[in-house]
Homo-oligomer: 421 residues x 2
C-alpha cells in the first residue's frame, strides 16, 4: 500500500511525499503516482511529524473536568480515588479509545502511557491505529502482597503484549518513589535490562516528595535512585521539577530521559521552574507530555508546547529561553529518541507517522514561521486535518472513522461514573 | 429579524433561545418559531456568551510569528518598528480583517483595541460584524508637535466614528506613561469625562517601567496617575503586573478597570505574578486580553483563559486560585462590565452576542463541567461552531462568509511586509 501526498509544504518548499508500507520512501517534487497509490492533495497544507506524547494516563480522559480547582488531598480523596475504585477494565478501554480519538484529532501519533489494565489500553490503541508504549502501574506502597502481584503481572503483561502489533510496546510503570519500594524499583531495573524495555516513573514532581525522600532515605530523589543502582538509559522520568545541578549531571551521565509536563505542573501547583535549558545543555533527552486529563484536562500536544515555551520564559525572565524550535524538537524528535523509534522527523526512511496541517485556519495566517505558529498560535485540534500512522491513514478531513460511537460510549461510562455525560 | 435556537444546552438544561432584533428575547423550552425566523438546531451544542477581549492590537495579527524568542530591544528595533514604519492604512485594514476573522472563529464577539489608523480597524469591524471599542494610540514621547497632533486627532476621530454603527465606539489610547506626557494624560482624562469615553492605557507592565517612573516622578505608576488626577471609572489599564497593595486599593477606590494579558506577560517576560485574587477581593472589574499577535501570537480568548488560570495557580502554589469559573467570568461578564455593555451573559434582555459550542469535539467529552472544559481543555478555534453578534449570524458551521478573500489578502500584505505569506 502506497500513499502519495502531492504539493504539500515541507519545511520551506512545496514538494511531494511518497509513503510505501510504513515508511516515508521519497520526498521530492513531481513524484509519479505508483499504481494503486492513494493520492492526497496537500495544497494549503503542511506535512509535520506526528507528536509524541511522552507522559500521559490515557484512560483518565474520562475524568476531564471532574474536580478542578481543589486542594490536592481533597481532589484525590473525594474525587479521583473513589471513582477509580469503581472503574472496570471496560471503562479503561472506553477511556483509552476517547484518548486515542483526541490524540488523533490533535496530531499525536505515539504516546507513553501509565495506567491500570494496560491490555485494555492496548486494545484501544490497536483499533485506533496509534503507536504506544504502555506501562502497567506498579504500586505496592510497601505491601509485600501487592509487590509480589505486581512482579507477577509484569511478566504476564510482557508476554500478553506479544499478541499485539509491533506498534505497541510494553513498559514498566513503577508509579513513584513514595508508592513503590526500593526493592521493587530494583526489580524493575533488572526486568528492564533483561527484556530491554523502558521504565516509566514519576520523579521529583513536588517539593513534598523531595522532603519525604530526604527524611526517609537521607537522599534527594535522583541520588536515591543512583544509590539503588537504577539510573540507566532504560529509565524515563516524568515531571522532575525539583532537582539540583548535581542531580541533572547524574541524569545526563546515566542517559536517563526526562519528560516535561507543564500543564499538570501548573494546575496541580507541583512547581513551575522546570529546568529545560539546564537539562538541554547537559544533553539530556527531553520530551513533552500532557499528563492525564484528570490533572491537565486535555491531550493536545500543541497546547502542551505552548505552555512549555511560555512558562519556561516567564519564570526566568528570559524571552530567549525555551524557544519554539527547541520545544517543538522535544515534542517530536525528542520523544522519538526517548522511545527509540525512527520517527519524529519528515525524512526518507523514517516511519510514516505524520500529520497534515490545514494552513487555512486563520490563526496560522500569515505563515512567517510554521514552527512558531504551531507552538504559540493554535491548538492541535484546531488545525490538524489528516493523520497517518505506520503508513495508514487514521484521520482524514478531521474525521476519524467511528468517532461518533467512541464519544457516545465515553458519555455513557461517564454518566455511570460521575453522573454526567 | 428573529433567530430561534432549538434544543441547545444552556447552563445545565436543554432549552430554546429566541433572539429578536439585537437582543435575547426569551429562554424557555419548546418556544414556537415566529414567522420568518431563522431556526438553528442546537442539538449537541451549548450556547455561551461571546468572549470580550479587553486588550489587543488587532492589525498586528499580521506580525504573527515574526521575530519570536528574541531579547526585547532586538525584537522591537530590528523587527517590529521597521515593519510598522512600512505599514499603510490599507495594511491596518487588512490586518484588522484577519483579526476579526480569527476572533469570530474563536468565539470573541467584542474587543477593546489600540492601534494607529483606527478608522481602518473600524471599517474592518463594521464589515465583519463584531462589536468593538477602538482607541487611537496617543504617543507623543514628550514632543509638543506630536502631542498637539494627537489631541487634534482625538477630536477628529471622535467625530469620524459617528459614521459607524453603534457597535463601534471610540476610545482614547494613550500608549503608556513612558511614551505619553503627564499633561497629555490629563488631556485624555478631561476628554474622556467630557465625551463619556474610555481611556485605554498600558500600565505597570514591566519592572523597568516602575523603576523609571519612580526615577522620573518619584512615584510608582498608579500613584503617579493618582497625582495627575486621572484615576477614574473611565480608565482601563492593561497588564498591571507590578503594583503593591496600596496601589490596588487606589485602583479599586477610583473604579479603574484592569485587564490581565497572561500570554504576552509570559512571552515577553514582563512578569508572571498578576495579582488576580487580590484585585478580585477588592472588587476591581477584571478583564482578560490576548494582547496583540506580535507578542502573544493569537487572539483566542479560550487560550488566554487557560493561561490565566494555570499561571495564576502555578506562581502562588495554590490549586484553588484563579478558578475556571472566575476566569470565565472575567472573559465574559467582566469584559462587559468594563466596557459597560449589556452582554457577557445568556439572559433575556441581554445583547444577542453569543456563540454555539460544538460539544462533539473530543476534548469536550465527557461534559463533567462545560466551564472547566472550555477553560482547561480546548481552544476557541477548535470548538466554536456558530457566532451571533447584535442579533446577526456572523459565523455558521465554522464558516465566515468571505474568509478565503480575507486570508488571501492578509498573505499578500504579509509577503510585502515580511517576505513571507
Amino acid at each position: 500500500m502506497s500513499i502519495l501526498i502531492k504539493n504539500v509544504l515541507h519545511e520551506d518548499t512545496i514538494t511531494d511525499v511518497l509513503i510505501e508500507g510504513n515508511r516515508i520512501a521519497r520526498i521530492a517534487p513531481n513524484l509519479p503516482s505508483p499504481e494503486g497509490a492513494e493520492v492526497i492533495d496537500g495544497t494549503d497544507k503542511a506535512v509535520i511529524p506526528g507528536f509524541i506524547n511522552t507522559h500521559t494516563h490515557a484512560a483518565m480522559t474520562l475524568f476531564r473536568g471532574y474536580g478542578d480547582d481543589l486542594p490536592l488531598m481533597e481532589w484525590l480523596e473525594d474525587y479521583i480515588w473513589p471513582v477509580e475504585a469503581k472503574m472496570t477494565a471496560h471503562d479503561v478501554y472506553v477511556g483509552a479509545r476517547l484518548a486515542c480519538l483526541e490524540m488523533l484529532r490533535s496530531g499525536t501519533t505515539c504516546f507513553l502511557d501509565m495506567y491500570m489494565h494496560p491490555l485494555e489500553t492496548a486494545r484501544a490503541v490497536e483499533e485506533l491505529g496509534l503507536r504506544a508504549h504502555l506501562s502497567y502501574t506498579l504500586f505496592d506502597q510497601g505491601g509485600a502482597e501487592r509487590a509480589a502481584l505486581d512482579r507477577k503481572r509484569s511478566y504476564e503483561y510482557y508476554e500478553a503484549f506479544k499478541a499485539f502489533s509491533d506498534r505497541i510496546t510494553f513498559t514498566l510503570g513503577p508509579h513513584a518513589i513514595y508508592t513503590v519500594s526500593g526493592e521493587q524499583l530494583q526489580f524493575c531495573h533488572k526486568f528492564a535490562v533483561e527484556h530491554n524495555v523502558k521504565i516509566n516513573l514519576h520523579l521529583a514532581e513536588t517539593k513534598g516528595e523531595v522532603d519525604e525522600c530526604v527524611r526517609q532515605h537521607g537522599l534527594t530523589p535522583v541520588r536515591y535512585l543512583e544509590k539503588l543502582g537504577i539510573l540507566s538509559e532504560h529509565l524515563i522520568v516524568a515531571h522532575v521539577v525539583w532537582v539540583d545541578d548535581e542531580e541533572m549531571d547524574l541524569l545526563a551521565k546515566h542517559r536517563v530521559s526526562v519528560v516535561h509536563n507543564p500543564a499538570s505542573n501548573m494546575k496541580l501547583c507541583s512547581g513551575y521552574t522546570f529546568k529545560y535549558e539546564e537539562m538541554k545543555k547537559r544533553g539530556i533527552r527531553l520530551g513533552i507530555g500532557t499528563d492525564g486529563c484528570s490533572s491537565s484536562n486535555n491531550l493536545d500536544m500543541v497546547i502542551a508546547m505552548k505552555l512549555a515555551s511560555l512558562l519556561g520564559k516567564a519564570w526566568r525572565f528570559s524571552p530567549t529561553a525555551t524557544k519554539a524550535a527547541d520545544i517543538y524538537h522535544s515534542a517530536t524528535i525528542g520523544g522519538a529518541e526517548i522511545l527509540e523509534i525512527p520517527a519524529g522527523r519528515i525524512a526518507e526512511g523514517m516511519l510514516a507517522d505524520l500529520s497534515l496541517v490545514d494552513l487555512n485556519v486563520p490563526e496560522l495566517v500569515p505563515l512567517n514561521s510554521l514552527t512558531s505558529n504551531l507552538v504559540y498560535a493554535t491548538s492541535g485540534s484546531s488545525c490538524i486535518d489528516t493523520v497517518i500512522i505506520d503508513g495508514v491513514i487514521r484521520m482524514r478531513d478531521r474525521y476519524v472513522p467511528g468517532q461518533e460511537e467512541i464519544i457516545a460510549e465515553a458519555r455513557e461510562v461517564a454518566r455511570r461514573l460521575f453522573g454526567h455525560g
